[in-house]
Every structure is written in structure tokens, then in C-alpha cells.
Amino acid sequence: MIPELAYITIAAAITLTLFVVLDIIWKLPKEGGVSGADVISREIAAAGGDRHGGWMMGNIVTSPDASAGTLLAACGYYIGDHVCSIGILGGAAAAVLVFTGARICADKGYVGTSGTFAATAVIWALATFANFPPASFIAGMVIAILIVQGSSHILASRAIGNLWRKVQ
């Protein structure tokens, strides 16, 4: 018997790893995808943060990337599971939404759409084989984005910047 909060904590760790890895694979910390991401990065760097980490945070803010894909995949899976017990249908619907949204925000849309599919696959595997409730992934993703975007801009951007320089 794993208590509910443990499911949410584990889901937070899994979604955090998933979207940070996908964003780094798609080179989000390399540069600002749109001019808005660039100025956010400059302000974070001016406050003592890291430029590359700032670019990734700016890109997350200004267009639906893998983190938005993970959140909407979790939402879609939860609704699909609740309505007709086929969570993957909801994940597919979320992928269409994320792709449309990324196109509206002048983004190519690969990051968000691949993130949605990857997250749907991970949530399906954990919900089917490890008995995770799909709702725990929604709360987990909220905690994960709080850690990256809402805790400390300086520390979060430095951590992402260090990770980016190690991977390069």
C-alpha cells in the first residue's frame, strides 16, 4: 500500500526528469526561440542567473514545450481514463492541442508534440503496470514546473545551465 502522496512525489520526479531531458534533447537552452524568450533570459541573467538556463525558462514560458506537453498529456490521460477507460485516446487529443498551440505561438511544434507522446507512453506504462492513478501525474507535473519556474530563478537557471554545458 503506497500512500497517495508517495504516488504524487514519484510522479513529480518522473515528469521533471522527462521534460528536462526532452527539452535538452531539443536544444531549448541553446538560444531564445522567440524574441520574448531572449529578454526573459537577459533579465534572469541580470539577476545573477545563467543565460542558457534563462533561455530554457524563457522558451518554456513563451511557447508550449515538453513541459506543457506532459501536463496536457496527463490531463488527457486522466479524462480518457475517467470517461471511457482508454487514457491513450485523451493523450492523442492532447497532442493535437499542443501542436496547434505551438503553431499559434510561432513555434515549430516538435518539442511539445514529442513531449506529449512520450509523456502519454510513460503515464500509460506506469498506470497499467505500476498502478499509478493518472491524477497523480497532473499534480506531479504542477510540482515539477514549480521547482523549475517558481522556486528560485537564479538557482534553477544555474542548474539547467550546468546540465546543458555537461551534455554539450
Binding site: 522567440v34 529578454v39 539577476a47 513563451t62 508550449p64 498551440g101 499534480a139 514549480l146 517558481g150
Partner: protein, 86 residues
Amino acid sequence: MIENVPDWAVLISAVTAVYAALRAVFERNTLRKLPYVNVMNFAVAGVIVLFLPHPLTLAVAGAYFIGSTLETNAIASSISKLEGDR
């Protein structure tokens, strides 16, 4: 046991939304407000879905989330453009 999970999930998302909104209000720099607003958008989209599990809710949460992302994008790019014109 599993029936209780949405309650914790709703509580965590709602508290996160309020916390992020307060951080955004008390942050002085407009551009550094935007990541907090982003966290609030994630949390509010999560709360909408957790409260109303219905197929249309996914469209509602998606429209809210993508619309608010577009707004933060517009604010940031307007500031960037204004600084470029100066």
C-alpha cells in the same frame, strides 16, 4: 485508496496556483513575473481538469493554457520590441 488521490492532487495544484500568483504579484520586474505566471497557468489548467473530468474539459483546459501562453508570449515580445525601438 486510489479514490482519495484527486483530493490531494486538487489541493496541491490549488495551493501551487495561489503561491505562484502571490510570487508574481510581489515580484517587481515585469519579465521575471512571467515564469511565476506560467506556473500559475499550469496549476489552474490542472485544477480545471481535476474538478471536471469530461471530454470537453480537455478542450477548455487546452484553450485556457494555450491562450495564456500566447498572452505571456505577447507581453514578452512586446517588451522586446519596445526596447529594440528605443
